[in-house]
Symmetry: C2
Subunit: 226 residues, 2 copies
DNA sequence: ACACATACACTTGTATACATATAAGAACCG
DNA sequence: CGGTTCTTATATGTATACAAGTGTATGTGT
């Protein structure tokens, strides 16, 4: 693979901020190019990114702090997560998304309102034969709009963190038969509750919505393993 | 300040793993030696820790990922948090600690039970004139025992993260008049609920307990500002 | 005296050199 | 032939050199 080489290591003149090793490695893990348990040697990553080991190490340290990779002995490995850990993440997410919905209902402003309405509309306008990636993207935008509307830095931080770990498991629950239709209804109800300042109802709907997602994930696993 | 110098940069022969720059800088921030808004120059930190800039940069990257410091322009600064942000953290903590108490009631094992009972006993045995640091320490051990008993990696991770940000504000709510006595009662009730596998009651008590902590923090601020 | 330009010092970002530890393979001994 | 030890290759941890950018201070011109 031919990569843009720099002589001095200065920024590649792409016009704007070039993609950092941190982003590249993270994306590679999310895309499944780097598999769990795989050792990450600094030299190979450095060649792959076209930089020296120094920025690679910074990226690895940051990713380790994110929980995406782990240090064992002296090497970094893509972190592996057991089904139990994934389920725990789903459970915490249920709680936090419910909090986000509650806060959004209490705190949203005009811009948040427009964002949520547009994201909901985008979900509705998706063609019936849209693929999983498109569904996941629209879904992510919608929930992120709510997350933002909650105006809680702390909550935003933790939810982003959790979702990062779930993003590694690409088989979205949204492609489960009939799931997208019911998700659309729930999204509409959630929007109505939030924009109507009904915090309790918003929290309850969000809780049910994400519990459903968890249960579908569970069912998908049991299909595989039984 | 005279610091242990190494010629080769190899480990200082302290007998065991020497304190990493990450830990040192983090502690300095928690202790208030490094104040919010203060710029962190790599060179001075390197001299302070007795290492070169390379390990310092790794520490700074990790701390930035923790949210303890932030990058503005090209420099690192100790992160400042507004009262609103702190309150948001308290709010999220209420939710997560309630979840932890619920899970602990459902999942605790023998070792967890011993840890919780011992931590509770340690709280009770503190002398009446114990200082804030001692109260905070005993309190931390107790809640950490519950956090561990929840057996949720995800929850543990997020709670540790949240508490890290609250640890910067050393004026503990526990020194508020009468607070420690009522906290002791609540700890005992919480322990009883958890060990009795009463998940709902445990969650409710934890929620009230941490809501109280938040409200005391709020009251302390209003004393100062009004 | 004030504004603007230029030079310099300081700091960061990256590359690279080198010491050390670890693991794998080869050789040797039982 | 198997096990153990030594050797060596490879990867990490740290230090250092150097380039580039930024902010400040100084000097000059009006």
């Amino acid at each position: 693979m031919v990569l843009p080489q720099t002589q001095t290591g200065r920024a590649i003149p792409t016009g704007r901020q070039s993609v950092t090793p941190y982003d590249r490695i993270k994306q590679a893990i999310l895309d499944g190019e780097l598999l769990p348990g795989q050792p990450l040697t600094e030299q190979s990553l450095a060649e792959w990114c076209g930089v020296s080991r120094t920025p690679i190490r910074e990226a690895l340290v940051a990713l380790a702090q994110d929980g995406m990779i782990e240090r064992r002995n002296r090497a970094f490995f893509v972190r592996e997560r057991s089904p139990e850990e994934i389920l725990d993440i789903y459970d915490v997410r249920i709680t936090l998304e419910a909090s986000a919905a509650r806060l959004a209902a209490e705190r949203y402003n005009k811009i948040d309102r427009i964002r949520i309405e547009q994201a909901l509309a985008a979900c509705k306008e998706l063609p019936a034969d849209a693929d999983g990636a498109a569904l996941a993207q629209a879904n992510r935008v919608f929930h992120h709009a709510i997350q933002t509307a909650a105006h809680s830095q702390a909550l935003d931080d933790l939810l982003t963190r959790l979702n990062l770990h779930l993003a590694r498991y690409p088989a979205t629950t949204l492609t489960s038969p009939g799931r997208w239709q019911s998700a659309l209804v729930e999204h509409a109800e959630l929007t109505e509750a939030i924009l109507g300042n009904d915090a309790d109802r918003a929290a309850r709907i969000a809780e049910e919505h994400f519990t459903e997602a968890r249960d579908i994930r569970l069912a998908l696993w049991e299909q595989d393993t039984i």
